[in-house]
Amino acid sequence: MPSVATSLFSALMHWPVWLWFGRQDIRSRYRGSLLGPLWLVLNLGILVATLSLIYATVFDLPLDVYMPHVTTGFLAWWFIAGAMTDSCTAFTTNAQIIRNLPLPLGIHVLRVLTRNGLLMAHNFIVYLIVAIAFGIWPNFNTLLVLPGLLLVFSLLFTMGLLLAIVCARFRDVPHIVTSIVQVVMFITPIMFLKDMLARKAILAEANPFYHMIEAIRAPLLGHAPEMLTWGFLVSANLVSAFVAAWLMRRAGHRVPYLV
């Protein structure tokens, strides 16, 4: 699929475009607000603090286990959920650009990832505060967050392309994705721990979102993600890239008429 590969490569090479517009998105969202994106930090901070207060009690867990878990879980989850829901509208909201400029389609998904990546970077402040408060110091495993993030980013890129194309054609799909994302938040070990599933750990391990979160969360907590998580992410990347390339080849050129 040489033309698809060229198009994706060309999208990456247009980094000034997606980096700039990803930043502009955040700027325009918080224009005129005093705290700006720090509101997000505050949101996450309040969420994590109150959840920890209640659920550490409900689950009878020590706060120094539960609070870092919830913080890193939401840090990763908000990024993944935001990237997925925003990818659905990546083409439809940029219809004007798509219909007027011969730019590679991938830039719109990369813009979504930039925007959500920047938001995650802001939320990182909450993680730092929690990490310092509970004495989670960086170790060798912390470095694994880099390959973890890389695998999650690339998976979200190809999934995003797929979603963006499908959603440009079928306007119900964004709503389906929104409902799925809402449900996933409750069934994935974010607010609870995987260990609580005990012998039914399969309920987490069969959940693709668990692995995406775990690749970011585990290193931030100083653990290495399990081999299963790496294996899952690598194979999901391959499958998703293949399907996205196939769909791009089949329907990519039709996007300018669809949006």
């Binding site: 060229t6 060309s10 090479m13 247009h14 000034p16 475009v17 700039w20 517009f21 502009q24 700027r27 325009s28 224009r31 004007q96 650009i97 798509i98 219909r99 007027n100 400029l101 011969p102 730019l103 590679p104 054609r169 079928f170 306007r171 119900d172 799909v173 050129h253 039709r254 300018p256 008429y257 669809l258």
Partner: protein
């Protein structure tokens, strides 16, 4: 507005490899319109469930043959004027030439940097300042970073907006907004310029200078393709003509002959 993608490069070490040209060979393009009756998954599922796959295309999809086997060849100095009724395929053709639509049959080859001015307000963020919007446009058009300053100065000079450029665009009057869009659109340096209607600004005091800027841009481009409903303008600017009717070339020839053919048809 459109610029050619960065690859492939058309010059080697800054030396122009050959003369600008734009060749269209037997190009056809049809597209389905899904908006008719809802672009929804339900329809697909229902038609699938009822075993309606065979008849589905005729029933659900509205197919438009936008361009049918069109060919022409433009060289340096050519100014092609396109006439035709609304919906005759003028804008679609410009989008094919700009590389936005990919034709199903035939192909387009070009030598030279292509820019299309189709929608002058593309990607304008009303809550961003004039300067931010200038930066956005420069980045979208692939203007090299070291030329951003020059691009901004050019837009500022043409738009004559001065300090207003530091204000959010939503505070502009409609005349000011028109001037900004105009300046953003024409601050380009293409070899091949594709124009969907001549850009003009109705602002009394500004319109004469806008006209001069526009003419300068057109004069500088080596090849021009102009789609317009303004027959006098086409006669004045263009030397070659194409009369599109239902996506087909009803007449091709000199601009004067094309206009005569166009006027002769009911």
């Amino acid at each position: 507005m459109a610029h050619a993608p960065r690859w492939p490069s058309r010059s080697l070490f800054g030396v122009r490899m050959s003369r600008t040209h734009l060749t269209v060979e037997a190009v056809s393009l049809a597209f389905r319109v899904y908006g008719v009756g809802g672009q929804s998954l339900k329809k697909e599922l229902i038609s699938f469930g009822t075993g309606g796959r065979l008849g589905r295309d005729a029933g659900n999809h509205f197919v438009v043959q936008a361009i049918s086997s069109l060919s022409f060849d433009l060289h340096e100095g050519d100014r092609l004027g396109i006439v035709g009724a609304n919906g005759s395929g003028k804008s679609t053709l410009l989008r094919i030439l700009a590389g936005i639509y990919r034709p199903q049959q035939g192909h387009v080859s070009a030598k030279g940097r292509i820019s299309a001015i189709i929608d002058p307000s593309v990607a304008l963020d009303p809550y961003a300042t004039g300067y931010e919007n200038i930066r956005s446009r420069a980045i979208l058009l692939g203007v090299a970073r070291h030329n951003h300053e020059a691009f901004a100065e050019k837009v500022a000079a043409i738009s004559e907006l001065g300090d207003y450029l530091a204000m959010p665009v939503h505070t502009y009057s409609s005349g000011m907004l028109m001037r900004l869009n105009f300046a953003l659109s024409i601050s380009i340096e293409p070899d091949i310029l594709l124009l969907d209607e001549w850009l003009s600004v109705t602002d009394q005091s500004f319109s004469a200078r806008a006209e001069a800027h526009m003419s300068a841009l057109v004069d500088k481009s080596r090849i021009l393709v102009l789609a317009s409903h303004n027959l006098d303008l086409l006669e004045r600017v263009c030397n070659r003509g194409l009369y599109l009717d239902g996506g087909q070339a009803r007449f091709m020839g000199s601009m004067a002959d094309t206009l005569a053919a166009y006027k002769a048809c009911p």
